[in-house]
Amino acid sequence: MIKSKNIILIVSCLFLLLTAVFNLNGCSCSETKPDGGASTNQTAAGGKSLKLALSSDLTATDPALSSDVTSGQVLSKIFEKLVNLNNDLAIVPELADTFEISADCTEFKFVLKKGVLFSDGKTILNAKIVKDSFQRVASPDTVSPRANIFDKIIGYDEFVSKKSDAISGIAVNGDYEITLKIKEPFAPFLYNLTMVPASITLNDNGRVIGTGPFVFDRKSDGAKLTLAKNHHYHSADKVFIDEIVFKIIHDQMTQISEFELGNIDILNLSTINVNRFVNDANRAKYNIHKQPKLNVYYIAFNFNKNIFSENLRKALNMAINKDELIGSLMKGTMTAARGPFPPSLGAFDPELAGYKYDPAKAKEMLASEKPESLKFDLYYKSSNENEDLMQMIKEDLAKIGVTVNLKKMEWAALKSEIVKGNLPAYYLNWSADFPDAHNFLIPLFHSKNMGAGGNRAFFSDAAADSDMNKLESTSNPDEYKKLARKIQKDVVEKAPWIFMWHEIEYAASQKSVEGYDVPKIYSMENFVNVKINR
């Protein structure tokens, strides 16, 4: 017998099942507290809360597993490194009290700060924790995407292949002294230690904790995550914020509206939105911040495809009117590039001429080229910012008789096709992990880094390779700078890219925020000394 009563019964049972499975208790606003630990860090009622926007959720809560900027931004407030960068981008001790480098640049001795507590309030930082922390990142079981930042240390290979249960090049002397020995001089080694994955962590029953000014209070529920002040932080008197609330808002327009409503305190502005804020009315209402970033935008030519002659590459470099584009379309948020080094980099070479805009000469140079080589596909990531820009580049190139087919692709697909070497030319950018010439040369132009390593042009030049190898082992700062500039000049001469521009980052903050400035590198920012006057 089938009656409507039975049917109602079945539907109710299904609903009850759903309720039981998902624990629907009416309010979905329940938030997850990380198990224990953070309870000592409750924010006092009415405490100062800083509200920020994130464009995407975290991919990692453990520094060892972090490789993206969003996670790095959040984790740099929770974890500290042995050394960090100061505002002049010089390396300064953070958890180390002092550090010494041996004359041959292969030994780095760190003396740790004494009495630094982890956020559990019990464990005191010691040299063994530092060693365990580094070994955890290096271990293949952790599957850290940045395990290679320790691969220069003696004994790394034996440790990774499990022939040894410790990295022999990390020596612990007593509680507060640790020495790292590397196989051969490697100039950017200390910079590697300023990166987020090199944070000093403590594994507290499966939970990774740090010594930074903040701790995780509420894990991400997809809409927001909260950090609370770490009351055990060694310089707690310099932290004036009780909690940081990160709101996860994917849409740029919504972020801007929330900022204008006062629901967000600091907002990073994308190129197309800068104009809205950098005008007189808004300048009076908000603080506007500006910071040249350590990055470079470029159009790479795929050397594996062999379709762009050196002559053609140089002519293309002269055909795009970068200053005009920066003025009209980019609203001054970029500086034209002459080579890979941005102006804020120590090794920047003001004397490097680069390629000046000269369409007449470019057209002349193309006279010797075969007509079929003057037509190619240019790929770019699909985004609002890129649409108009690519059209204007196409028009510039058309003026010298080059036909470009614009092809836009979704980022994950584009990246994988580029890394496989399947595409002829593409518009990309590179952001530095640390402020050193090394980071703008070796990943981008050394033949060992072709494809996924960062050398997206598949550029290979024996002389440049050998110079870059030499650069890695150069320890004298003057010689280092000289050699870096020489390599840059040689690379620019070969024109593997069209060198486009370097970004200037803009941010707006509410007038109530004091002491904030856009960090030069995202991993430097920890909101110590930032105040809110509300």
């Binding site: 629907l24 979905s28 529920d221 997809g222 929330e258 629901n263 697909a413 990246k415």
Partner: protein
């Protein structure tokens, strides 16, 4: 009834198996490499190799597919490649949000849609009808992303009726996404309701009921409204099913942490295979469940169907 249930269950199992195969094959074939999402911009070959081995990505398709089926057989949806979080844990956290928004939007759409459609049909060609038709047209042709922005610009930025666009702290935050998501459905439901009611109004049994001297309200409710419910329920059910699979545009605009964003941004954006596979499967299950419920509701509403099943 038991036979009916068993038959449906077998069909569902086969459908789901096909779904797992098609998703896995698609995931394997689409351009994009999950390892590149994990390692960032400057990766060493040794690290990439280690990750590929750990995730079985160096294995042929069939090995990966059976590893996935084996996991499923143990009721394990797997772990995200990128975040290392268990997919089921994320679903448990986010599905209630999606369900809440879907229920809220569907209630809004059903109440408004049925009321507008019903009265518009009852008073055909009157002012009510003409105004309703205009709104139905507007509702159907306004995309969610336009409506969403208009809503928060007017209600939040201009008149400050609602304090915040995003957020998740009170039921107030439900208002904007509910209207944005529900309006198009409301318009569709109104249109279906209107045409169904107009059809039924012309039927002989309605004339008979009226000629028997039954009151107008009684005829409208018990003869016209109840008999027009079946097609309306179909539209409501299908829309509800699609809302339960996440509404990525509404979630993006209002920062609503539902499963739509999880599938598109975390799963597809990063080529996070376990997330894509498990979420497509999950959505398929939800759809099948909803369809099943709609069938049951049909039985409840239509005595003819019940008799037919009894005969078989």
């Amino acid at each position: 009834m038991i036979n009916f249930l068993i038959e449906r269950f077998i069909y569902c199992a086969i459908t789901l198996l096909i779904v797992t195969f098609i998703t896995s094959a698609l995931v394997f074939l689409i351009p994009g490499d999950p390892v590149l999402s994990i390692v960032g911009e400057n990766a060493s070959p040794a690290v990439i190799k280690n990750i590929r081995e750990k995730l079985l990505l160096d294995q042929p398709f069939i090995v990966q597919y059976f590893a996935y089926l084996k996991r499923l057989a143990q009721f394990d949806l797997g772990k995200s490649y990128v975040t290392n979080l268990n997919v089921w844990d994320v679903v448990k956290q986010r599905f209630p949000n999606t369900l809440l928004l879907a229920l809220s939007a569907m209630t809004f759409a059903s109440v408004i849609g049925v009321a507008v459609g019903f009265f518009s049909a009852l008073y055909k060609d009157s002012y009510i009808d003409r105004i309703s038709r205009y709104f139905i047209l507007l509702g159907i042709s306004t995309p969610v992303f336009v409506l969403g922005v208009i809503l928060y610009t007017v209600l939040t930025l201009k008149f400050k009726i609602i304090k915040s666009i995003t957020g998740f702290d009170s039921y107030y935050n439900l208002i904007l996404p509910t209207i944005a998501l529900g309006t198009q459905s409301a318009a569709y439901i109104a249109r279906i309701t209107r045409s169904t009611v107009l059809d039924i109004k012309k039927q002989e049994f309605v004339k008979l009921a009226k000629s028997k001297g039954l009151s107008r309200a009684y005829v409208n409710t018990w003869h016209i409204f109840v008999n027009s419910l079946a097609p309306i329920i179909t539209v409501i059910g299908l829309d509800f099913g699609s809302y339960l699979n996440g509404s990525v545009i509404t979630e993006t605009i209002f920062g609503w942490p539902g499963i739509g964003l999880y599938i598109f941004k975390d799963g597809i954006g990063n080529r996070d295979f376990p997330v894509i596979q498990s979420m497509v499967l999950f959505c398929a299950i939800i759809f099948i469940l909803i369809n099943f419920i709609i069938d049951l509701v049909y039985f409840a509403l239509d005595p003819r169907l019940r008799d037919k099943l009894k005969e078989n």
